[in-house]
């Protein structure tokens, strides 16, 4: 009897830190990952239809919080004509690099709702450090993490050879995200 109680207590004790660090679930229907490139001065909007995230975020335990994000490069939607092109080797090379990933290395709190997530962004076999500003908004059980940050497409060899000309397609691409999560502890 005593042993049983003890083991239960041990299990509970070992679970409690895990419970605090529980993984949050992404709500895909309410989430968006989009980007805006500039083609001869024309802003061209696109989005990724398929992405997933592994989030273990606790505002009280930032040091052990982790965010891993994966985007299916083949799900890029920029409009019919460009969609057929952007999967090709000169752009995302989806056949060789089907996933783009972001892995957090540290999370810094700026204020009650604003955070800075530093990490590695890996696209098309190239990995680069980025700092992503994230704003959290809690509404009932859902927490929406949103933000935007610029990347340089040429760093990741997105658009090679004749497409490397930045007078045609600008180097800077603005990436925007809105990720709805459930299970985030109260801020």
């Amino acid at each position: 009897m005593n042993t049983r109680l003890l083991s239960l207590a041990l299990v509970a004790a070992s679970l409690s830190p895990l419970a605090a660090q529980a993984q949050q679930a992404i709500v895909p229907a309410q989430s968006e990952v989009s980007f805006t490139s500039r083609q001869m001065g024309v802003p061209v909007d696109g989005k990724f239809k398929t992405f997933s995230a592994q989030v273990a975020f606790d505002p009280a335990k930032l040091a052990s919080s982790k965010i891993a994000f994966t985007v299916d490069t083949g799900s890029a939607d920029i409009g019919r004509e460009a969609n057929a092109e952007v999967v090709k080797p000169l752009w995302f090379n989806v056949a060789a690099f089907p996933k783009a990933t972001f892995t957090s290395s540290s999370i810094k709190k700026l204020d009650a709702t604003k955070y800075e997530v530093a990490g590695k962004l890996a696209i098309k076999g190239v990995s680069s450090d980025v700092v992503v500003p994230v704003t959290l908004a809690q509404n009932g059980a859902t927490t929406v993490a949103s933000g935007a940050f610029p990347i340089k497409r040429l760093t990741f060899r997105i658009g090679e050879k004749e497409w490397a000309d930045t007078s045609m397609v600008a180097d800077e691409v603005q990436v925007k995200f809105k990720i709805a999560l459930t299970g985030v502890p109260k801020l």
């Binding site: 083609q39 001869m40 001065g41 024309v42 802003p43 061209v44 909007d45 920029i78 409009g79 019919r80 004509e81 460009a82 057929a84 092109e85 004749e162 497409w163 000309d165 045609m168």
Partner: protein, 184 residues
Amino acid sequence: MSSAAVTRYIPLARALHWLLALGIVGNFALGVYMSDLPFSPARLQYYSWHKWAGVLVLAFSAVRLLTRLLSPPPALPDAIEAAMPGWQKLAHHATHVALYALFFAVPLTGWAYSSAAGFPIVLFGVLPLPDFVPVSEGLADVLKELHELSAFAMAGLVLLHVAGALKHHFIDRDGLMSRMGFGR
């Protein structure tokens, strides 16, 4: 009949006629050429140029219409008017009305098509123009069709217009074409 009897269009109207003749024929040719190119930087470049030229055609056509309203074209010389059968007079007026309508319809459907396809027009790469229609693939398909049809209709009317002018010049030899000419 001598060409001395023919009253010319005012110089601004003549200048606009030839400027737009060049712009419209050139941009039509570019449009036909570029639409069959494979996806490439050159294709995107041509599309941008085509859109910028189209916006210029639209703007100059507005100036031209205003010029025409403020300074109506000289009436057909009496002798020419008398020599024309009724159907020719009708065709003469109908062609001009239709051409003017298309000077606006072709660029405007092109502009709307570009907006609907998700590529807003940025004139010369610096001046963003407003979108009058939402981004929509279905709408883009319809507008593309309308842009093409109206452009080919305009091309047909331009040929008719040129044929009529050449007929007056070479067959009737009535000097009508000098209404749009320069020099003596």
